[in-house]
Symmetry: C2
Subunit: 231 residues, 2 copies
Amino acid sequence: MTRNTVSSPPPPASDSIAQALSLAIHEHRLAPGTKLGEGELAEIYGVSRTVIRAALQSLSHTKLVDIRRNKGASVASPSLKEARDVFEARELLEPRTARSAAARATASDIALLERHISDEHAALDASDPGRALYLSGLFHNEIARIADQTTIAGFIETLVARSSLIIALYWRREAALCEKHAHHALVRALADHDATQAEALMRSHLVDLHSALDLRERNARAPSLKAALSQ
Amino acid sequence: MTRNTVSSPPPPASDSIAQALSLAIHEHRLAPGTKLGEGELAEIYGVSRTVIRAALQSLSHTKLVDIRRNKGASVASPSLKEARDVFEARELLEPRTARSAAARATASDIALLERHISDEHAALDASDPGRALYLSGLFHNEIARIADQTTIAGFIETLVARSSLIIALYWRREAALCEKHAHHALVRALADHDATQAEALMRSHLVDLHSALDLRERNARAPSLKAALSQ
DNA sequence: CAATCCTGCATTGTATACAATTATGTGTCC
DNA sequence: GGACACATAATTGTATACAATGCAGGATTG
């Protein structure tokens, strides 16, 4: 039985708080660079700084939060290079994972994926793009889980989370509804156990996503300004 | 300059302690399943449990240490499935990374890799197989670093570390000097910028390593016994 | 004699207190 | 008026104190 995310009787453990913060970052309620003061968070969640520190350290291990000694924690703000790194990693891992998933997907897996898609569309209709993005990430995580490679699935989970930050920073408005049916087509390939097709679709889906970002070098004249402002 | 592992004037930060423990696990001085009591470690390193807890949590994120609520921390003891997962991940990531590294390796990179190899041989001659294993891991990490994909390099680092635990648990004595010249051949391919060859050599090297492990199912009759004893 | 419950000890989880570092705001000097 | 220096406040890092949980040993009872 999975423990519920935030229960009231026992004060929230550090894991719950980390998850809550992670969700807020996923949904773009916490923007990159936002300062995460320990005392402030301790008051919000009604726990001591000890617990907050554990949660923040946990998030820093997944690169969602940036901790600098004596300077505190803030929501991470991936550089251009980091952004490219993350997407290169995704393009290496996820197509292969989709291939494995196609061989193993069961009917209930497919049903769950379709539910994610419809939830995502519902969130979009409700003008909650943050939540839609989060659900879109869940979709990718779910495929990794289906592939039954726990280690790689864990990697993908952190990559998806970091992608959320990257999208917050580098998304181009011009790039429109990119993945309207990309996920649908992927699910169909998985349902058909068409491994090659699933791999190809995942690859092109990620390439689409990648190209919807503006990862060109900029501010060559004042490279330190942006870094200074972002904190 | 890398900060030394345990310095006296400033009390060792949690990172230093995590690194020291990680090294001890790498070198098989700490066996899988070993209990890591907070008080004991606090006394050893002359710091409070606060710092120890941070170090242990850090190690638990890389799966080197297993923390169970109210039960404390122990050196992780990967299951057969985890072991297979880790090596599947390595076989997916590292060949591609070696390919990238071949395109980028500089003369100083090659020199550093060769130094690692000779250090490794020196450790073997000094009958210090634990250190040799650690240096062998450094070799793999170094290649990932050369490829200049920080994210993937980070993944590989954790995979290499976990491999050390897996080797401690599942190494077959029969499997003899597996990689005597595997690393040498790999370095040569990198020096020649022969990407295809580097990728192939890395792949076969990992397959060799994988097949030198005994990852067959066992104890089908009493599956819980081993788990019970390992803690 | 075996199984069970109870008690005491050891260890971990959390909160608080203190120390160290950084950030801020004010006053002075040029 | 601007820049530097110092004092003060706020925040983080570490240690310690207390609470809660788990473990072990022994007594009790059937």
